[in-house]
């Protein structure tokens, strides 16, 4: 059952690194950075080794499982496993961490907290993020879900900008409300499981076999969903994100927006849908509407921002709208696209935040109006910023195009009107990215930007790999999608939906003149879907 503990190692290595860093003297600034970088590189190697052991053709729901008994009385296990959905997030965390440390090399130098403390928190955050995406036990998932808040809270509160206290508390309050709701839902689910299965369990595979009463199912679903919607974040519970992202350090913003927020969308796809198929289908139209509002609203808000970090945060609200829409479209294209989107958004937003960090460290301001004509003094900096921006606006050739188009196509199959309205997002994204580029990078060189140096080697090594990955996956998306597809198919089975047939295959008119949502068809034998 248990394979070599690769997944456990992914959690243990950064934790050891965090402890070592915490034990170092406060004065050792450069050593701390080097230790953090070294630990993150070792973790990256383990991540890569792990990824290569994942078998896309396997019929297992979870691979490389590490399962240890933890609290037998409650049936709680410390069990980790990789699905096609979590693997993209695990890869993303492993890749981003060393690049974030490299890119934000000096970002903690002037904070009230110590430098070693910063990197200790960052590595802790990494370990917990690995945990939350790999946990196959609901209770363990909940523990990680809540624990992630702790290092993030301290990073914002001790290393952030002038408004850091406000941002940190707001971040915490929002997350706690969601966390509480989820706790209730987790317990309710446990109780249901205990009464139906005879013994309490938090195991996902076992729980997904439950036959839940539709009323109870809806309530538990909502408990999970609201927690995830706050995390994602979706309109109207998104307002903590711009404050948090605007105040925290660029490096931690990458982890927060690029990775941590994906817990929300990951949870919707990997937990909500398999566990509560009926409730998910019941709420899907409402959630699609909320997602649609997020797409348009986030984009318009991004247009109105004066601060680069806040602008990027709002673009993420828009992108998360796409991800959620793809998930609740309940088609294989929508879900696989949404999963791939999680990876691609992490990469492009990661690059944007890192480069924004380079800009801010040079100028000492994150206001858009402080910049201008940077292209003339730092062409490589401007070029990488443009590339990251093009990825954000989903230009073909960038991996984000593949995922965004899959989400659109997948949504179009079941919610035609939603996909059509969402295409407005492709115009708005072009507008907010290119307008940002125009104001910061073109025109005459703004006062204060004359002495900008171009990217140094460290900075190039920080964003270069991200951009290379974005372009590589843009041309060769199939390998990643092949890993994602089996897990998405499994979710489709568990929910009991199949992709609609093309109009010509059964000679029905296409839904364009029906003006209505195509009803999701339940598969005849959906009871068996959950197990494998």
């Amino acid at each position: 059952m248990n394979s070599f503990p690769w997944l456990t190692l992914l959690i243990v290595i950064p934790i050891i690194g965090a402890i070592v860093l915490a034990a170092m003297p406060r004065e050792s600034v450069t050593q701390a950075k080097k230790v953090a970088l070294a630990v993150s590189l070792i973790t990256l190697i383990v991540t890569i080794v792990t990824l290569f052991q994942f078998d896309s053709d396997s019929d297992q729901a979870f691979q490389l499982v590490n399962s240890y008994s933890w609290i037998p009385a409650l049936g709680v296990k410390f069990s980790l496993g990789l699905s096609g959905i979590s693997i993209v997030m695990v890869g993303l965390i492993g890749v981003l961490m060393p690049l974030v440390i490299l890119g934000g090399w000096n970002e903690a130098d002037d904070a009230i907290g110590s430098v070693k403390g910063y990197y200790s928190l960052m590595l802790t955050l990494q370990a917990l993020l690995f945990g939350v995406f790999m946990a196959t036990d609901r209770f363990l998932f909940y523990i990680f879900f809540e624990a992630v808040l702790i290092p993030m809270y301290f990073i914002i509160g001790r290393y952030g900008g002038p408004q850091r206290q406000y941002a940190a508390v707001k971040f915490l309050l929002y997350s706690l409300v969601g966390g509480l709701l989820m706790l209730v839902a987790v317990i309710a689910l446990y109780v249901q499981g205990a009464s139906q299965l005879g013994e309490g369990t938090f195991d996902l595979s076992a729980l997904s076999t439950l036959q839940l009463d539709s009323g109870i199912q809806k309530w538990i679903f909502l408990g999970f969903f609201i927690a995830f919607a706050i995390k994602a974040p979706m309109w109207p519970v998104h307002t903590w994100l711009p404050d948090a992202a605007g105040q925290t350090t660029p490096g931690s913003a990458v982890l927060m927006v690029g990775v941590m927020d994906k817990i929300g969308t990951f949870g919707m796809l990997a937990l909500c849908l398999p566990l509560f198929p009926e409730a998910a289908q019941f709420f899907a139209p409402f959630i699609v509407v909320l997602a649609l509002i997020s797409i348009i609203y986030g984009a318009i808000m991004a247009l109105g921002q004066r601060d680069i970090m806040r602008l990027i945060a709002y673009t993420s609200v828009s992108h998360f709208g796409f991800i959620v829409m793809g998930i609740f479209a309940m088609t294989s294209q929508g879900m696989s696209g949404a999963t791939f989107y999680m990876l691609n958004h992490g990469l492009s937003t990661g690059a944007l935040f890192l480069i924004a960090g380079f800009l801010i460290s040079r100028r000492g301001s994150s206001l858009i109006e402080s910049f201008g004509g940077v292209h003339k003094v730092a062409p490589i900096l401007a070029g990488t910023f443009l590339l990251a921006g093009l990825s954000s606006l989903s230009l073909p050739g960038m991996s984000s195009f593949v995922s965004e188009f899959l989400v659109l196509v997948g949504t179009f199959e079941t919610y035609q009107w939603a996909a059509i309205i969402a295409t407005v997002g492709i115009v708005l994204s072009a507008l907010y990215i290119l307008w940002l580029y125009q104001r910061t990078m073109t025109g005459p060189v703004a006062p204060g930007c004359e002495n900008f140096t171009d990217l140094n080697t460290r900075e190039k090594w920080s964003v270069g790999p991200i951009i290379a990955l974005i372009i590589f996956f843009g041309f060769f998306a199939a390998p990643v999608l092949n890993a994602i597809n089996p897990s998405v198919d499994r979710v489709m089975q568990q929910v009991g939906v199949v992709d609609p047939q093309p109009a010509i295959s059964d000679n029905v008119t296409i839904p364009v003149d029906e003006n209505a949502v195509v009803p999701l068809e339940r598969e005849a034998n959906d009871g068996e879907g959950g197990q494998s």
Binding site: L176, L180, S332, A478, L481, P502, S505, V512
Partner: protein
Amino acid sequence: MNLTSSLIASGQESEAVEASVNYAMQASGAFTWMWLLIAFPLFGAAFLLLAGRRTDKWGHWLGVAMSLASFATAVVMFFAMIASPDADRSQTLHLWDWIAVGRFEVPIALHLDQLSMTFVLLITGVGSLIHIYAVGYMAEDPARRRFFAYLNLFVAAMLLLVLADSYLVLYFGWEGVGLASYLLISFFQYKPSAAVAGKKAFVVNRVGDIGMSIAIMLMFVTFGSVTFEGVLGNVGMASETANTWIGLMLLLAACGKSAQFPLQSWLLDAMEGPTPVSALIHAATMVTAGVYLIVRSGPIFEAAPTAATAVIVIGAITLMFGAIIGCAKDDIKKVLAGSTMSQIGYMMLAAGLGPIGYVFAIFHLVAHGCFKANMFLGAGSIMHGMNDQVDMRRFGALRFVMVGTFITFSAGWLAIMGIPPFAGFFSKDKIIEAAFMHGWIPGLVAAIGAGITAFYMTRLWTMTFTGKARWTEDNQHPHESPKIMLIPIAILAFLSVSIGFILAYGDAIINWLTPVTGYAEQETVLNHYIIEYGTLAMVIAGAVIAYLQYRRDVPITPPQHVSALTTAARRDLYGDAFNEAVFMRPGQWLTRSLVFLDSRVVDGAVNGVAALAGGLSGRLRRLQTGYVRSYGLWMLIGAVVLLGFLILVRV
């Protein structure tokens, strides 16, 4: 007139030839190398961008070499195609699997047939000439290497667009050329106007991309496929509603890329780009991509008469729109841009006519690619010699100081007017004749448009080359451009003279393209001699009026008391004013309001609800000071709820 008569046997309704293109044949022989067409310029672009300043000295020559290598490959492909029987001229090359989720499977695959071959030759041929020209034109620019990288990127993307074997890969190239266009329009980034123009072009094109996205999505839910084979081969099985919507959405996409009404506004601003860019991207190739899209999707429009009519209407409107703008502009590049808009309107109109027009849409596209590139490069040559002056009111009498430019430009001028035997005569007359086959209105619009074309082109030619010099030696000192610029212009001028005859001779272009596009003839509503001579008379009238009017003294400052139409035309027929009133201002208002609401209402409401729900209002202050205690409290609350649930459910 004998030549044209031999092309279309008038009065006789001959049988229509159906398109017979086969999208499924795997490439073999020389065609397995067709990926090289794209690989050369793509490598050039990537290398020049990554290698950095070390390659500044010779980078532009690498750019030229890559473009020429692609052209040479194209020529090899062309001869291989000529040597093949008709049935083997359509070849598909599967490269790798790009996207595969469920039924949505899209490989990166290329498709070469007579239609894409025509484009490949035009893109690489004219493209290479413009690369060479730009070596001279951009000689003084410190960022010349980057310029050539972008040009190579453009060529690669444009080739992907025309070689795609599915709509999604076409979309890939479609956006790629959009990116190259953006980068090149805003190439002089230090100029705010250039940066704004580039952004505008991209954003307006994205509005068109809404159409492209929806069209592709509709194709997928209708046909279960987005490849040409899967879509175009099954058009007959889909409902007319589906085909109509797909057609209309494709038309929206085409309007964006080809600067057709109502998405035309970006093209005039795009003239901020360096002139070789205007010639290559915004005249000869990229802006014709919409025409390619419509012609390629012919079966859809044939199954959806409403959509086809919409194409004709859009083409006819833009044809007049561009021509009217062209009459009032004083900026030589903007006159040419208005003219481009108008000429593409002709092509669109022809494409909307169906099998009677497809061939001539492409014919005119190729001819236009040659003579418009010729004239744009000529305009660039003038600017090069006159300190980047573009105001025609400050030109005059340049025929004496720029003899080479004058002669070559004149060839383009005669070609676009359609004076026999120059290129435009063969291609545009065919469109006008086909328009009259369809009915009176498109026919008359096309014919009158020809007269207006002659007017504004002659106005340009007269103001620039004849009359008195309105420049002074000390501030302009016009001089002829170097050979590296003149030779490409000369080649294009030669093509402006000859390409029409070459392609029309023995119905070459019709025979060549018919297997892909199909071909049909119908009776015209008007005797075709009347059409031909009538059009020619209108052209001559337009030219003579313009010559007489602008040969005299032209005031250096534009007269203010002019007709309402002239004022409107000078302001691009209020296209920008419309956009500003309908989209920009409401958009700005919406953005400001939402930003305000987000911080006050949404944020406030959520905070308020949270506070109320948890009875937290009094505790908020304390939370800001002591987080750990509160967290403990929350856990306590959670535990209580847990217990409550356990008790409730168990009981």
